[in-house]
């Protein structure tokens, strides 16, 4: 990519743009992991907390319409599904139970608005009047151990992303400082020609913008590659996660990275440049 020409002859920015591009990509990955884990736990709990399963013993098929009648009478229940017999037999086979002994499983989802008032024990006693030995399986939420582990991963990856962001700011600030030292004579000429410090700062902001734009394009390209490679490799359920996470990535790219770039260009660069210039030209005006 051709380097833009500035009023101050800055050095080549190819190397620094590449490094910052990779850092932006790593930052996006770490934030993606952090946000993704958080969202995945939330989604898991949201989707499972209202799902109950009734397990009717083997051979109770004749009473199934009566059981369904009991369930339909409950206004809190918004969806009922009798699981496929073949699917259950497969499950039973996997845990070493004979297919002929496979129970009848009925999933039902309680409306989230009525979840707090739903009395599972009352329902079970009603069903047991029709089919004794019926069991109700409560929702399987994320275990506290898994939850704390996920939280830890989330915090670590978020912290890592934050460290990368701070490092990027520091690299840009150091770059600006070293460019001021390198082009001292040019800056002095600007000063003698009557350029206020903010005018010189604007040139540096343009340079930083050019570097960050290149870095952003590189990180965007890497993110797209990652998205498609993950998409190509998905198996079964992972498509759901990939799709959800990819939207988070896009959200991050659309808002997160530009916000970081604006912060660097509008605050980090001017503060660095102006403080250096103030120090330099405050000394020169007194003999």
């Amino acid at each position: 990519m051709k380097q833009r020409r500035f009023d101050i002859p800055f050095g080549s920015d190819m190397w620094i743009s590449t490094v910052l591009g990779l850092m932006l990509f790593i930052t996006s990955l770490s934030l993606l992991v952090s946000i993704g884990i958080n969202r995945y736990i939330q989604d898991w709990n949201t989707s499972t907390q209202a799902t109950f399963t009734l397990e009717l013993p083997h051979g109770s098929g004749n009473q199934l319409p009566d059981v369904m009648q009991v369930l339909k009478q409950r206004s809190e229940i918004e969806m009922i599904e009798i699981l496929d017999k073949t699917y259950i037999q497969k499950l039973m086979f996997q845990i070493g139970v004979a297919a002929s002994d496979a129970p009848i499983l009925i999933d039902f989802i309680v409306s989230k608005d009525h979840l707090s008032q739903f009395d599972a024990d009352k329902l079970l006693s009603d069903v047991r009047k029709v089919v004794p030995k019926t069991v109700i399986i409560n929702p399987v939420l994320t275990s506290p151990e898994a939850l704390s582990l996920a939280k830890m991963v989330e915090i670590v990856s978020f912290g890592f992303g934050l460290i990368m962001m701070i490092t990027m700011c520091a690299i840009i600030a150091f770059l600006m400082y070293s460019e001021i030292q390198t082009h001292e004579r040019t800056i002095e000429l600007f000063n003698l020609l009557g350029a206020p410090n903010y005018f010189i700062s604007k040139i540096f902001q343009g340079y930083a913008s050019s570097i960050l734009l290149k870095s952003f394009l590189l990180s965007l390209a890497l993110n797209i590659c990652l998205y498609y490679s993950t998409y190509a490799l998905y198996i079964g359920e992972s498509i759901y996660i990939t799709q959800r996470l990819s939207w988070i990535t896009w959200g991050y790219i659309v808002f997160g990275i530009p916000l970081l770039m604006v912060t660097i260009i509008q605050f980090i660069v001017p503060i660095t440049v102006l403080s250096c210039l103030k120090k330099k030209y405050n000394n020169s005006v007194h003999a």
Binding site: D7, F190, L192, G194, P196, H286, A287
Partner: protein, 260 residues
């Protein structure tokens, strides 16, 4: 009616931190529309005097007033805006080698906020005036010393400054180019610009009818050739002075004398 002086030196002393005094108790006034040669040997303090005017250094004693702005009270952030009203030509031209000639000349306008195309248009006009129209897209490093100096003059006057400071603009060029460059300054002077032309070449100053300020032994001596030509007109209290005449110069607190 007498115009207000552009620059006033009021009991100014200057000494650098590690060196002895450059000036001591200096009183000077530069009125609008004049032309002065500032002469002296190398290291005599010509550049320091110019630096005091564009406030690159501040006096250790006394105060310098430039275009009504006092060195003691001017805020740091106002100095660039003051410099925008002063044209400066440096001895080494101080051109930026990564910019073309036209971009170099357009710099002061762009600093003042003029849009790029207008600034470049004005710069091309100015380069035509100094006879460098065909070099506008050349880089400074391929130009001769004389051409660079003419470009530096174009850059200094592109903002239409009220006065022009030239620090040895003929120092690195041959006699022919020196006269050509000096001619540009004379032309600007005829248009009403105040010019302070620093040079170590006293013969150049002697060959032109403008007053010479000679810096020697930390003192400034006035050699007013026009005063000799028109005896009696050099007066500090003359209300009928014209602002184009060098007689407007007032050196020393006594008026017409050198103060130390």
């Amino acid at each position: 009616m007498q115009k207000k002086p552009l620059v006033i030196f009021d009991r100014v002393s200057l000494s650098y931190k590690t060196d002895e005094e450059v000036f001591w108790d200096l009183n000077l006034k530069f009125n609008p529309g004049s032309f002065y040669f500032l002469t002296g040997s190398s290291g005599s303090g010509k550049t320091s005097l110019l630096k005091l005017i564009y406030m690159d250094v501040m006096p250790t004693q006394g105060h310098v007033s430039v275009l009504g702005q006092d060195s003691l009270s001017i805020p740091q952030h106002q100095i660039p805006y003051l410099r925008q009203k002063i044209g400066m030509v440096f001895q080494d031209c101080y051109m930026l080698n990564h910019l073309t000639l036209i971009e170099n000349v357009a710099l002061p306008l762009r600093i003042r906020g003029l849009n790029r195309s207008q600034a470049l248009y004005n710069a091309s006009e100015m380069l035509s005036w100094v006879g460098l129209a065909r070099y506008i897209n050349h880089y400074p490093e391929v130009l001769s010393g004389g051409q660079k100096q003419r470009a530096a003059v174009a850059r200094a006057v592109i903002n239409r400054p009220m006065f022009l400071l030239a620090d040895e603009p003929t120092g690195n060029v041959d006699k022919e180019n020196a006269i050509r460059i000096l001619h540009l300054f004379e032309e600007l002077h005829k248009r009403g610009t105040t010019v302070i032309f620093a040079t170590h070449d006293r013969s150049l100053a002697a060959s032109h009818p403008y007053p010479e300020l000679l810096i020697k032994d930390k003192k400034i001596q006035l050699n007013d050739k026009t005063a000799k030509r028109y005896p009696g007109i050099f007066s500090t209290n003359n209300e009928n002075q014209t602002h184009t005449s060098p007689r407007n110069i007032i050196i020393g607190s006594e008026g017409g004398t050198i103060s130390q």
